[in-house]
């Protein structure tokens, strides 16, 4: 087998096929591969991002929950305190009222007693005067007076 024109023909064919491959074969295939690689990379990055977002959201939710719990505890605490204070206040007020009512009762009783005493004194005076009148009516009779006086005293 000799070297002949086949060599040149093959070289020309080689040049043609290289040109053809560079023009029509390599770019679309390589582009498709690179585009898919980019797509996959994007997808992976997106999922990574989503994971991170989820993590952040979870942390935030946890924080929020903790804050809410804290607030609720505070509210309950406040409410308890307030209730306790209310009870205390009411009790105190009740006590005060009672004291007041008792005091006013005493005062009333005292006033009544004073009034009655006054009346009694008036009546005693009246009686004394009436006794004196009766004594004067009978003209002065010591013995007779004395029983009046005794009567008076007994009446006192």
């Amino acid at each position: 087998m000799d070297i002949n024109f086949t060599l040149i023909g093959q070289s020309i064919a080689f040049a043609f096929f290289v040109w053809f491959t560079m023009k029509f074969v390599w770019p679309p295939l390589n582009n498709a591969i690179e585009e898919r690689q980019k797509k996959i990379a994007d997808g992976l990055a997106a999922s990574e991002q989503a994971n991170q977002d989820l993590e952040v959201a979870r942390a935030k939710a946890d924080e929020e929950l903790k804050a809410a719990k804290l607030q609720a505890a505070e509210l309950i605490d406040q409410a308890k305190k307030r209730a306790a204070k209310l009870v205390e206040d009411e009790t105190q007020r009740g006590h005060a009222e009672r004291e007041k009512i008792i005091a006013s009762g005493y005062a009333e009783v005292e006033a009544e007693r004073a009034r009655v005493r006054e009346e009694l004194r008036k009546q005693v005076a009246f009686l004394a005067i009436a006794g004196a009148e009766k004594i004067i009516e009978r003209e002065v009779d010591a013995q007779k007076q004395s029983d009046i006086v005794e009567k008076l005293v007994a009446e006192l």
């Binding site: 093959q10 064919a13 080689f14």
Partner: protein
């Protein structure tokens, strides 16, 4: 061309190792090798182009996957070796790999099949083409005497094909050298390496030119030598009668390795040579 006795052992071997030619002297063309080479080249570029046209960036089909595997493989090989950005290098590598692979693959077709078919077709269409007297030949002998039966279908067993590829690579080496270093830079590299002294310029020139020429020559001869030797073994195996079946199978299995390896070597060395041409060293 073995005139008589195409069915004798020597004639049989000669018959298989020659190709159907058109023309005389240097202007002759080995029709079998060149036409099969060009057909296979088109098989490669057109099938890959169709895949490229329909290539989706979504879930690829099976053939697209296969094509993309090859593309990825080539792209990785190129990226590892060729460090300058260049949009021609990857297509060169892909063309060389796929084309040589397909041409080598033709060797796995049993050596007698297609020559018999072509010879039979030739005998039917153009019986006058037989250039010598075939009186008294059997039909098979007549078929094998027809010039069309010389059709070779394994292009890489033809030194013209492998050296034609190497010649292309040679021009690419020169082209890359000039494109990346300029004509002056290229000549300077030829003249002043390895010894940077004006008095040694002729010596350097001889050394560097031998280096330059030896690259494509070794490329072409390596491919040719491997596959030609393999082809000779296939032909010898075909001569041993019934025992050829297991032998042929074993040798063919071994050759699956050889054909891929040789295609890969040719591609890889081309990338290496071109990267040497493109980079300063």
């Amino acid at each position: 061309m073995a005139a008589e006795g195409n069915t004798s052992i020597q004639g049989y071997i000669n018959h298989h190792l020659s190709d159907m030619t058109i023309g005389e002297g240097f202007m002759a063309v080995n029709v079998g090798a060149l036409s099969v080479a060009i057909i296979l080249g088109f098989v490669f570029v057109l099938s890959f182009m169709v895949v490229g046209r329909k290539a989706t960036t979504g879930v690829p089909g099976k053939f697209q996957c296969f094509v993309e595997m090859i593309i990825e493989f080539i792209a990785t090989s190129v990226k590892e070796t060729f460090h300058v950005k260049n949009k021609l290098i990857a297509p060169i590598a892909l063309t060389i790999f796929m084309w040589i692979f397909l041409m080598n693959l033709m060797k796995l077709v049993p050596v007698d099949w297609l020559p018999t078919v072509f010879g039979a077709v030739g005998l039917l269409i153009n019986p006058e083409a037989i250039k010598y007297n075939v009186e008294g030949y059997s039909l098979l002998e007549k078929i094998m005497a027809h010039p069309w039966s010389y059709m070779t279908i394994a292009p890489t067993t033809d030194i013209n094909i492998t050296m034609g590829l190497a010649l292309g690579v040679f021009f690419l080496i020169v082209g890359y050298s000039i494109a990346f270093k300029g004509v002056g830079g290229f000549l300077k590299e030829l003249s002043f390496t390895p010894f940077n002294h004006w008095a040694l310029v002729p010596f350097n020139l001889v050394l560097e030119l031998v280096t330059l020429i030896s690259k494509p020559v070794s490329l072409g001869l390596r491919l040719f030598g491997n596959l030609y030797a393999g082809e000779v073994i296939f032909i010898l195996i075909a001569l041993v009668g019934l025992y050829q079946l297991p032998l042929h199978f074993a040798w063919a299995v071994f050759h699956i390795l050889v054909i891929v390896l040789q295609a890969f070597l040719f591609m890889m060395l081309t990338i290496v040579y071109l990267s040497m041409a493109a980079e300063d060293h």
